[in-house]
Amino acid sequence: MWSDYLHLMKMEMTLIVILFILLFLKLGKKEWDAGKLLHFINILLVINLIFGFFYNTEGSLFGNMFRTNHLLALEKNILNLGTLIVSLQSFHWLKDHKHIPEFYMLLLSTLLGMFFMISSNNLLMFYLGLELSTIPLAALANFDLEKKISSEAAMKFILSSAFSSGLLLFGISMIYGTTGTLNYHELSQQLTGSPLQILSFVMFAAGFGFKFSAIPFHLWTADVYEGSPVAVASYLSVISKGAILFVFVSVLYQVFENMTTVWYNLLFLLSVFTMTIGNLFALRQQNMKRFLAFSSIAQVGFILIGITGQSSEGSAAVIYFILIYVFSNLGAFGVVSLVSAATGRETVNDYKGFYKNNKTLTWVLAISLFSLAGIPPTAGFFGKFFLLLAGAGTTHTTGGHANYILITIAVLNLIISLYYYLRIIRAMFMDNNNNPIEKVKATLSPNISFVICIVGIIVTGFASGAYDFIYSLVK
């Protein structure tokens, strides 16, 4: 019996153990050297990551409130990996920070929340996971304690998220009222698609949309990314977003299978708005973090297209894309974070002539941006291709060619997005600057993270293994 808990919840358990180790570290009298402490924590995260790959089985616990299987384990592993990368990249920033253990405790508790959310089989668990992954993040957003914008960002985040969870809860309460259950499996049988359920579904989806920044629920995103520490912004844009998208896919496919048309239409609209408006905003951004925020909004638009695929190809493509997105976006954020920690410069203009002094970093950023833009041979190309292909496949099964409109819009958006990615490339490689960023020295940790990202960006695409594996799990 106990072995079951240890076995099925091992990833959550590991996190909790690390959390408590950190808590004791903090409460202990000893003053730790920041560098050593960070290395120690990173090693813990590596162990956590490695541990996640073994002994994964299927099963459910707590009266079906918690379930796990290979796919969910994989999703959690992706998040673990992403967290590790974020942690490695924030080395320079954290080294001078007073609250290292607290930072990690908050970070890992949000990760734990995401795990609960992913493993949830019940709306209550989902809600708790969501809040657990949101509230500490708001605190994290404020971790640049001396900066005005950091607290502004945190304020915007907490208020927006509280409002959105209020709406989400209203939706959940109506769903509960009309079906009488919170369990996913029972819900899928009870839902009929009545008007009230549709309204509550929209509210429910808006809660998701808030987390993964679909337009018009995205407005907090850019402000929060810009104001938060880079590490938190990258965590928000990759891990938090990835987790909620994983959940979104499984909830849509499992719980709302009777309301396919409804959510297809909703996703159609959301993805059109998200891609287009996200891109239009990204066009004019000057701050790198803000720019990446809008670009990640646009990315979500593409992911939504993949979700409309309503097929195992679709959900595999989504998970696969998120894996790639982890590498690509973190590669980009990593460079921004490093430069920001070293020089405090974050605008696009600062990056003019970046190639002059920082060849390697430029290439890391460039390759990451290419991957985000979906340019071969980076994995981003494969990811986008599969997403759009999955989207294009939808209507084939339902007849008609309506979804090609969506694909066409997506393609036009790809061009716009290429424009702004190339804008950064142009700034780095081509533009002259009298005062280019000096050579930024990266230590071991960020370098490891860059290697992981670049290798990931290149290998994930070419080696079909990753996709095949995900597909086999989805199926």
Partner: protein, 501 residues
């Protein structure tokens, strides 16, 4: 012959480049790599002929087929027919010449050669792909290196041009994607799944309604690459801002990706729609031919002249494809090869002139024959090729297209042919104008007296291309025999489609 070698050699070269230091190492490695590839493409030609001579009638030879993404039915499927062999030869010529021409690129030389050879990988891969996904992959692969090449090493309003080029080409490939996806989901293999495999799709009959929707996407998409009017505007700006080797590659190979794609994907796989939309294609390409030629007449910058003339010449490619007769298609392919070599050479010559005189404005040039006879001679040769002089490659291709297009009985096609023919006069006007002004005439500036003629690497580069142009022009039968049967095959597919309909 193992076709993957064609990708492997450049990839190994690229890897080797990563570890190089200094211009000398970099360029010698690049030269070596592209020379090996050059030889390899001739080996391919040899084996291809040998195989054909031994009676192998398969549509594609040296096929390799590995499953890549099984769930999506994506394979790494490669193989060549005569058309691809011709295009591969073209690519190896242009890449080798491009490396030689860039012998003295001092700024960021490693990156330069890396990107240049990277472009080559894209082209090789594109031409040998028999799987739509692989094809698309390689098509997009070649966009960004162009952007960087133009943006970093270019001249003039390079950032604008580079951006325009990248966006328009990306837009083109986006349309291609829609076409491919539509095609994919309307294929039904024996086991009830979809396929990206060109050979398999060619065997199927895609419903006409589907073709009607997706043919325009695919054709326009590739057409953007191939300078289809009115999507050609990236051509003049992109070509004129690019550094020499990049312009050579752009005009020489990159635009051919479009033509090849139109032929191999749009027309070959969706023959009925090709038939239906043929008139639009013809009108657009006729506009491109004549209008490109007239626009060229008004240009004053050498690179713009060649760029606009490329629009005009590539119009012939699309015309040949649009006409849909075997001869015209063969002509289109020959025009691709011919124009590829010719325009690469043209840009090489212009680049050399620019290097020495630091101007590309016709008004500031003159009498160059006196001070740099070699380069000027090359310039004249390529100019003559451009105006369709017999004995050089341009003539062969153009007359084949004319002959093929007159084959269609309809008066519409005849008028189109006449319009296209008329361009030979306009071409003569602008070509002789530029030759007369820049190469002949009195020496424009005393400073030009200090100019040195081409170095060995430049001579080698241009020599290679001249030899190729003359070889096609004097003995076109080998090229024609290489291409002809496959053009026939494409036509058969088209007529089969019509029969079924």
């Amino acid at each position: 012959m193992n076709l993957s070698l064609l990708l492997l050699v450049p990839l190994i070269t690229l890897t080797a480049l990563l570890f190089c230091k200094g211009l000398k190492q970099v360029r010698s490695i690049s030269l070596f790599g592209s020379a090996v590839q050059f030889v390899l493409s001739f080996v391919l030609l040899y084996w291809y002929w040998k195989e054909r001579a031994s009676g192998n009638n398969a549509a594609f030879l040296f096929e390799e087929n590995y499953v890549w993404y099984a769930p999506l039915h994506i394979n790494y499927h490669i193989g060549v027919d005569g058309i691809s062999v011709a295009m591969i030869l073209l690519t190896s010529f242009v890449v080798l010449a491009g490396v030689l021409v860039s012998w003295k690129v001092e700024t960021l030389s490693k990156e330069f050669f890396f990107l240049l050879l990277f472009l080559g990988v894209g082209a090789y891969g594109f031409f040998i792909s028999l799987d739509l996904f692989t094809l698309f992959f390689f098509l997009e692969l070649s966009v960004i290196p162009k952007y960087l090449l133009i943006g970093i090493w270019g001249s003039g309003k390079k950032e604008y041009s580079a951006m325009k080029l990248a966006l328009m080409l990306m837009g083109g490939s986006g349309f291609v994607f829609i076409g491919l996806a539509g095609l994919f989901f309307n294929t039904n293999t024996v086991d009830g799944t979809h396929t990206f495999d060109i050979l398999q799709i060619a065997q199927m009959h895609i419903p006409l309604e589907v073709q009607q929707i997706f043919f325009p996407f695919a054709f326009v998409g590739f057409g953007v690459f191939g300078a289809l009017f009115p999507f050609h505007t990236w051509v003049p700006d992109g070509h004129s801002s690019a550094p020499t080797a990049a312009s050579m590659f752009l005009a020489g190979i990159s635009m051919k990706l479009g033509g090849y794609g139109c032929l191999r994907v749009a027309t070959f796989l969706m023959p009925d729609a090709a038939q239906q939309y043929s008139w639009i294609i013809i009108i657009l390409s006729c506009i491109a031919i004549l209008y490109g030629a007239f626009a060229t007449m008004m240009q004053t910058d050498l690179k713009y002249i060649n760029a606009y003339s490329s629009v005009s010449h590539c119009g012939f490619v699309l015309l040949g494809i649009g006409i849909l007769t075997k001869t015209a298609i063969a002509g289109a392919v020959m025009q691709m090869v011919s124009h590829g070599l010719m325009t690469a050479l043209f840009f090489a010559a212009i680049g050399m002139i620019y290097d020495r005189t630091h101007t590309r404005q016709m008004a500031q040039l003159g009498g160059l024959l006196k001070v740099m006879p070699f380069i000027s001679t090359v310039f004249v040769i390529v100019a003559l090729c451009s105006l369709g002089l017999p004995g050089l490659s341009g003539f062969v291709a153009e007359v084949t297209i004319f002959m093929g297009s007159w084959e269609r009985a309809d008066a519409f096609y005849k008028v189109a042919t006449i319009v296209a023919c008329a361009s030979i006069v306009v071409t003569a006007v602008y070509i002789l104008r530029v030759v007369g002004k820049a190469i002949m005439g009195p020496l424009a500036s005393k400073e030009f007296n200090l100019i040195k003629d081409a170095g060995w690497h430049e001579k080698l580069a241009t020599g290679l291309l001249v030899v190729a142009i003359v070889a096609i022009g004097v003995a076109p039968f080998w090229l024609n025999n290489l291409i002809g049967p496959d053009a026939d095959l494409i036509m058969k597919n088209i007529s089969n489609g019509m029969v079924i309909k």
